[in-house]
């Protein structure tokens, strides 16, 4: 595949960084969006460059409409239109339903779901013009199977699936595919925060018998972005080592 402009939201750490590196290793031109940690985003950019790709970083709150518009304008100016969009940015504000504050709900919906609407809409114009595009959003097994303490997160991640199916139907005839990769338990800062007890007991429910690595999500995202996946759209690819079977 010739080099494409790839935007990875939330690309400074964890799964986002692995996705950015993966596209870098394929020689693409990768834009790494980050919320607040510019230094970490620069490390992701260095990883992309080390793999042979081109990279730039850009700070923006992807839940904010004006910030997203400004980000896409800057990307268009410096790199050209976004051809592959990876909606990866995500946060958790876990709590049992009865204790969950409306702020915890709103923050998660804004960063994890509103961002998908905003970024996809902003990217679509260029994709329609090119009659080619890939939109891949990072969902979660939580959004499919549910998870106690994650009603907000699961709602956002399930929302991404319905969103992607609808958009897939709207733009399928224009060479644009829209898919979701739903990770299970992956070793990142997000899951490390759960503590060893939780993660080791989780591993007992995973068919493969271990937590996943961010690279294992990145390769699934890379596949859906490739020409080989041109007939796959509206799908959710669960990458969880057999957790939610």
């Amino acid at each position: 595949m010739e080099p494409k402009v790839v935007l990875v939201t939330g690309g400074s750490r964890g799964i986002g960084r692995a996705i950015a590196s993966h596209f870098g290793s394929l020689g693409h031109r990768v834009v790494i969006n980050y919320a607040s940690n510019a230094a970490a985003a620069e490390e992701s950019a260095a990883a992309v460059r080390a793999g042979g790709g081109e990279a730039m970083t850009i700070g923006a709150d992807v839940g904010d409409a004006a910030a997203v518009d400004a980000m896409f304008s800057e990307i268009a100016e410096k790199m050209g239109p976004v051809e592959i969009l990876v909606n990866n940015a995500g946060i958790t504000r876990d709590d049992l339903m009865l204790r969950m504050k409306v702020e915890q709900w709103d923050e998660v919906i804004a960063t994890n779901l509103r961002s998908v609407y905003l970024c996809s809409k902003a990217a679509l114009r260029g994709m329609l013009r090119a009659k080619w595009g890939r939109i891949i959003s990072v969902g979660s097994v939580s959004g499919i199977a549910g998870n106690p303490g994650q009603a907000n997160y699961a709602a956002a991640k399930a929302g991404i699936i319905g969103f992607s199916k609808s958009l897939a139907k709207e733009v399928g005839s224009r060479g644009i595919t829209v898919n979701v990769v739903a990770p299970g338990f992956i070793e990142t800062d997000m899951t490390a925060a759960l503590g060893e007890d939780v993660t080791s007991s989780a591993a007992g429910n995973i068919a493969v018998g271990r937590l996943g690595q961010p690279d294992e999500i990145a390769s699934a995202v890379g596949y859906l972005a490739s020409e080989n996946a041109s007939y796959i759209t509206g799908q959710t690819l669960v990458v969880d080592g057999g957790l939610a079977l």
């Binding site: 114009r125 329609l128 013009r129 709207e170 733009v171 005839s173 224009r174």
Partner: protein, 81 residues
């Protein structure tokens, strides 16, 4: 800009961007009924018009367009504003 120039560019864009047969295009033609352009196709045409004429067509005005001539009206008003 002359209206005839806008009309002629509009026909070119319909042919090039949306693959419509030149013979079928009249100013009175309705996009969806007569030219079989789907709603996304109308959006694509408007994007092409914006690019070609360097104008901005707001969504609320775009939604009101049903015929080729109405699209020409909007572009004409914007270009000569």
């Amino acid at each position: 800009m002359e209206r005839s120039a806008i009309e002629s560019k509009m026909v070119d864009l319909l042919v090039e961007e949306l693959g419509i047969e030149r013979d079928k295009i009249t100013m009175a033609a309705k996009f969806e009924e007569d030219l079989e352009v789907d709603s996304l196709g109308v959006v694509e045409l408007l994007m092409a018009l914006e690019d070609n004429f360097d104008v901005n067509i707001p969504d609320e005005e775009a939604e009101a367009i049903t015929t080729v001539s109405e699209a020409v009206d909007i572009v004409e008003a914007k270009v000569n504003a």
